[in-house]
């Protein structure tokens, strides 16, 4: 479902409204955390105040865990999220320059804005300085361009770069954060010579720590794929199914489902052209042309638990559509054997001859005889509305643009 704006759930006009609301929360929390104070911010480098590390690390693991859990539940598609591009030397050089800037200025751009608005004059100077820095970069862009856009590694994930799984990386990051919280508290107490009296009155972090550890383990055991993720089938598997004829549904079954829509959970899909479908089709059938079966709006429909039977005039087009859908991982999709031509020839127009020998053939023959009567004489009372047509959401997807 999410991210809402790139998935088209929210009017793009509201984009900027959301930006303002999210900014409100961002600014409020930063100020409340003490990030409007350069003395507090710089404390992380001298050991007298580790508020930066605590807030920063807690925020990172909270958001990370949230993203992973939301992705698993299906609320957030990680493939739609913006992953920072990695230009090796530019990222390192930028970080080094910002590190020096942090020590000298005592702020970073976000915190300087927060401090400036509540009247910290040093922060106002910092903001002016950062504007000069950006202008400087722009003015000498020619000189910087080769390093700025060189050594592009891609929009890569850190766990891929390290060659470990996302689950393990997330768990290790949470463990490192907890250890860092513990160790920095000891360092902070030593440097500030915190009295035992104050230390005693600290809140107990037993419950939050247990919760964080639980989440860490949860991230470790959760599958990386979303719960509802469709797993693609390999060509070998598809070939196997075709060879066994397991993808075919006999016309009798289709006929039976038309006579008794409640008894079978078949959903018929006509993959022919729009004109052909409008000319005639089977009652209750949904029309999805062959070349549109992979459109995002049909994703939920094909992934539903019902058995979906594709058909065309013969079964060539339906089989093509079936192959595409099977390759994409939809295992509840089948093909009506022989297509519409076979269906009409055998059910509607066949002359029934009582010459069958074995039990099964006799049974089939009798069924077809009855089916023919039903269809011809209208006893079946087939109404399209008896077969519920699934509602298919029309969602156009666009990829998100770049960030900060």
């Amino acid at each position: 479902m999410g991210p809402l704006i790139p998935m088209g759930f929210v009017n793009p006009e509201l984009n900027l409204f959301f930006a303002f609301v999210i900014g409100l929360g961002f600014g409020y929390v930063l100020e409340q955390a003490g990030f409007s104070s350069s003395r507090k911010l710089a404390g992380v480098f001298y050991g007298y105040d580790f508020v930066v590390l605590r807030v920063f690390f807690t925020a990172a693991i909270t958001a990370m865990s949230g993203i992973i859990l939301f992705n698993y539940i299906g609320w957030l598609d990680v493939n739609m999220l913006y992953v920072n591009p990695f230009y090796l030397w530019s990222a390192i050089l930028g970080g080094v320059i910002m590190g020096v800037g942090f020590i000298l200025g005592g702020f970073c751009p976000g915190t300087s804005l927060v401090a400036a608005i509540i009247g910290r004059i040093d922060a106002i100077f910092f903001v002016i300085g950062s504007m000069i820095g950006i202008f400087f970069f722009g003015h000498f862009f020619d000189l910087f361009e080769s390093i700025y856009s060189g050594n592009f590694i891609g929009h890569v994930f850190v766990f891929d770069s390290l060659g470990i799984g996302r689950d393990w990386f997330a768990f290790i990051l949470i463990a490192v954060a907890l250890i860092a919280f513990f160790v920095t508290q000891i360092i902070e107490d030593k440097i500030n010579k915190t009295s035992k009296e104050i230390r005693k009155h600290r809140p107990s972090y037993l419950v939050p720590t247990s919760i964080i550890l639980f989440i860490g383990v949860l991230l470790l055991v959760l599958p990386n794929e979303p719960r509802s993720k469709i797993h693609e089938n390999g060509p070998r598997e598809i070939l196997q199914r075709m060879a066994n004829g397991k993808h075919l549904v006999p016309i009798d079954k289709v006929a039976y489902s038309l006579i008794k829509p409640d008894a079978q959970d078949l959903v018929l899909v006509d993959v022919r052209s729009k004109e052909d479908y409008n000319h005639f089709s089977l009652p209750g059938a949904i029309h999805i042309p062959k070349n549109e079966v992979l459109l995002p709006r049909y994703k939920d429909f094909f992934a539903s638990a019902k058995r979906i039977v594709l058909y065309s005039f013969a079964d060539t087009d339906a089989t093509e559509a079936w192959m595409i859908l099977s390759r994409a991982g939809y295992n509840q999709v089948f093909v009506m054997e022989g297509g519409l031509n076979h269906f009409f020839a055998e059910i509607f127009e066949a002359t029934i001859e009582a010459e069958a020998y074995d039990h099964m053939s006799q049974f089939q023959m009798r069924f077809r005889e009855e089916a023919q009567q039903y269809f011809r004489e209208g006893k079946a009372a087939i109404k399209p509305e008896q077969t519920p047509v699934p509602v298919i959401k029309q969602v156009e997807i666009e990829m998100p643009a770049g960030g900060c």
Partner: protein, 173 residues
């Protein structure tokens, strides 16, 4: 201007709330938070309006204009307006509004402002190379588990710790 200041929020609670803000940013827009981007937009807009000929010949500004419907209409600018409003509200609620300069005990006001300006200059420059600052590149980049985010974060704080000793006079006694 002395007022009764309320204490700061518990750091872990603040971090948790900041994480939720970041998560909601991802949930709504598909991208995280950022601050330096809006400062960049302001610089680009002011340069473009005051010296359009200069902006036209410079590839840095040309690239910024090719990206969308004018940099001032940028998502990050509205985010920053929210940041300013939220921070002002918080400061007002907690009695922290008022003009003052924070500095270490061993440095004069003049030097503090000079270093703040120079620090800002470096941060503005570095944020261009890093394609984002501490919020846009490091925090957001870490939450989405991007390599760039972790590398930039480690470079910022690693360098900070390496040079902290030489600039200790700015902050500690």
């Amino acid at each position: 201007m002395k007022t009764n200041q309320k204490p700061y929020m518990n750091s872990y609670l603040a971090g948790f709330l900041l994480g939720l803000v970041l998560l909601s940013a991802f949930f709504v827009t598909g991208r995280g938070l950022g601050a330096s981007g809006s400062v960049k937009s302001i610089v680009i807009s002011s340069v473009a309006s005051s010296a359009p000929e200069y902006a036209e010949t410079n590839p840095f500004y040309a690239e910024a204009f090719s990206e969308g419907p004018g940099p001032m209409k940028n998502w990050l600018v509205y985010l920053t307006l929210g940041v300013l409003a939220g921070a002002f509200f918080s400061g007002a609620m907690s009695g922290r509004l008022g003009f003052k300069i924070e500095k270490g005990p061993r440095i004069t006001t003049g030097w503090r402002l000079l270093f703040a300006t120079f620090g800002g200059l470096l941060f503005g420059l570095g944020a261009q190379f890093g394609r984002g600052c501490t919020s846009g590149a490091a925090l957001t980049g870490m939450a989405i588990l991007s390599t760039a985010g972790f590398v930039t974060m480690m470079a910022i704080f690693g360098t900070g710790y390496m040079v902290a000793y030489f600039f200790r006079k700015l902050w500690i006694s």
